[in-house]
Subunit: 511 residues, 2 copies
Amino acid sequence: MLSDIVIIAQYFWISEASARMKSVSSSFRSSIQLTMKLFFSIALVVTIAGFIQAQTPSPSPLPYSAQTLTDLVRLQEAALQSDYALRQTRYLTNNIGPRLSGSAQAARAVEYVAEEMRREGFEVRLQKLMVPVWVRGAESGEVVEFPGMAPGTTQKIVLTALGGSISTPASGLVGEVVVVEDYEELSRLGREKVAGKIVLFNKRFDRQLASSGFGLAAYGQAVQYRFGGAMAAAPLGAIGVLVRSAGGSQNRLAHTGSMGYADGVPKIPAAAVSSEDADLLEHLVSEGKTRVKIVLTSRTLPDAPSHNVIADLIGSERPDEVVVVGGHLDSWDLGTGALDDAAGIAVSMQVLELVKRLGLRPKRTIRFVAFMNEENGGAGGRAYFDEVKGKLETQFAAIESDLGASRPLGVLFAGKSEALRFIEPLSRILSRQGASMLQLQAGGVGADIGPLTQAGVPSLAPYFNQQTYFNYHHTAADTFDKVDRKELAELGSLVAVLAYGLANVEGPLPR
Amino acid sequence: MLSDIVIIAQYFWISEASARMKSVSSSFRSSIQLTMKLFFSIALVVTIAGFIQAQTPSPSPLPYSAQTLTDLVRLQEAALQSDYALRQTRYLTNNIGPRLSGSAQAARAVEYVAEEMRREGFEVRLQKLMVPVWVRGAESGEVVEFPGMAPGTTQKIVLTALGGSISTPASGLVGEVVVVEDYEELSRLGREKVAGKIVLFNKRFDRQLASSGFGLAAYGQAVQYRFGGAMAAAPLGAIGVLVRSAGGSQNRLAHTGSMGYADGVPKIPAAAVSSEDADLLEHLVSEGKTRVKIVLTSRTLPDAPSHNVIADLIGSERPDEVVVVGGHLDSWDLGTGALDDAAGIAVSMQVLELVKRLGLRPKRTIRFVAFMNEENGGAGGRAYFDEVKGKLETQFAAIESDLGASRPLGVLFAGKSEALRFIEPLSRILSRQGASMLQLQAGGVGADIGPLTQAGVPSLAPYFNQQTYFNYHHTAADTFDKVDRKELAELGSLVAVLAYGLANVEGPLPR
């Protein structure tokens, strides 16, 4: 019964949504129009809420009050008009810059976000934690021997050290290249063909899969070699590892990212090469002996103190129950971390700013968390979890936005399927902006809130259009211009609707 | 009368073209199918040629014999199947690499192309000339003062020296940035606001114009600041120039290219910044004082000897009349010059290879010219012109391919409009592959053949799809993978049809 009503309501909302999105995207509408539309929206919500409540049998009372639904639509409208998140994204990227854990910029970002949230009047605290400090240094690559090479020439290869990699000797690491597609091929070659060489893991990022909408799946296939390549090649005697970039760029960009070493396995330098340079090496190696010279001067310094930034908008009825909304404040160092993840931070800050500006009071506390060190360690997510793990009942739900700022299509949910009916009314509101998808996700939906998710805290994330994100991910091109004003506004709206909705939902979520 | 017949024939060809293109693109068709299709093509050409000849009044005899039309279709079919040009493009880019004038790679490229053409049995000679030798060296940029800057931090900016730029002091050039949109704004600011500063010319490359098909027009608007920026800013006391990249990349790539100095005007260092970094600087400068540090270690060495490579396929009836077909062998040094212009060289080499392989004998000589130094001087084009300028009647026509390897849509023609009727039958053949456009172009159609064009030699070039070329132009991402096998085959076919057609056209072209 409910499901039928839901479907009817959903159709109603969706057709309404497409008409309304046009008006939302126009930046020249008059305030009179705005008022009328807002009135219409509220009337509509009240009508539908009443209809659903009247028709719903008692075992499943509607999880949102009419007032909450009204407030959610107001919040959505305001978020779609706001440029607060855009301004914060711009400041974090342009005025602060790359924010790798342990860097002066990361420290400045902590300070800045805390200041901003205090200025808005929220209770802010810095949660101290220790982060790894890895510094890139200089890096370069060239092919120094290859079939057809003119005397006295080399060919440059575009590479970038993987996060955590040791340095090469100062004079560079020189070695013959052996190319493998995957771990199986590496095993087949064995120590005899690998020892003393530099292994290129040449697993292609599946651009077609990504452009079909499944960028994350494409990334998942490719990224294992970035993280595990050095651990797999070193036991066979490899002296270094190159990894074809785990990303979709066709613009001579190397995609960095974290890599791992294992106890008892020799540490060897590891770098990502651009897809173009992987193609080049593959071609040259197929024709004959090919040697490269790699210079990486990366260093790992002692762990250093850093912080999560936590700001609370205290709930009016259940202040001890917390809906976490956040992203990660650190970023890789090549670009300015606009998509990854200044945008996630900015829209999360905006939730609190907007709710307060509209004079709304959530029943539960909405907690903004700017996690530190997502990219190369996850210390922030762990530290937050360690603090709350003894009182997990206080963690009502968690939302993380960490997959860019392209158009949000809906919501990913990690938790009990029984909890979906609490999210569905929010999805119906989101369908007004074309973000109607609601997908139950096995596993997690965000790295920082991962420990919470694993411990049973209902977890949510935007479901993004993933077609272009991995073209820029972890590259020098992850910069402010990649954030589209309208798409960011839609993301801000989605995150606000989720956070405020969950902070006001009736009854506990099944967990 | 003729025009009506031409139109009828054109429709016939065009509808035939779409059906045939499908078969051409299939790589699995049997040789029996191939033979049948070839027979059909020849029969069709003979029929149409006969039809047109029978109907054409005597003042305008058909400029191609039935045999030539038959041969042209054979040539087209073979070119669309050939991977010769692809292999040559790969060798020039992957096995030789960047080929900046005066470099060891450029010398190797001269040697390689000459060897290849000799091996095919053509008369090859190297035309000696002197080229400028400019060496890039190291280059880096950073913002060292900007609003919001955390103590001890800087922001990297991606830049690349413009070709010909002097170096900065070894310790770097540090200066406040002033941003202008164009020369007018520079003039308005005047010496008072410019002296002692680094000027950023922030003219945006019009991506919308480019993606609408007019990349060259977009480039033309933006490139004037690259070439002339330093000359315009130095007289006002500027100490350096940054130029927003004259290209469409949104991937943090700086587009290099040549720049100029003027006698009597101080030489100041000049570099291109990526569009992202131009945006960053514009934003920071709008908020307050912003200083950058630029390091360029580029050097200009004494001019050095280099060569055009010239290979002739001698004509059977008028060996002294020459149809030039070529591109430029040098390239910028950031990428491997695949689109600019290994592809143009490769398809031009292929014309001779194909004509010979098919056992065809053109009436006039088809001359392949690999021009040297198109990118930063034009010495090759001038040297060739100097050699032939006393006997220009021997230069029957000239074809240059130097705008990439994206899909050719037709032909650009620079010359007398009366000559168009000699090209139209070739366009009809090209319409079979979807390259039916024929556009009369004021001015030139290629830099190297520019002096010939100006002297009245009928000049032709492929009319390319220009939507993506300027995303890669003069960047590190101009690499082999950007060349699409099918599109290159279509380009090879177009150039072959033009060259062989003109080498066999009846009567002189109006000039």
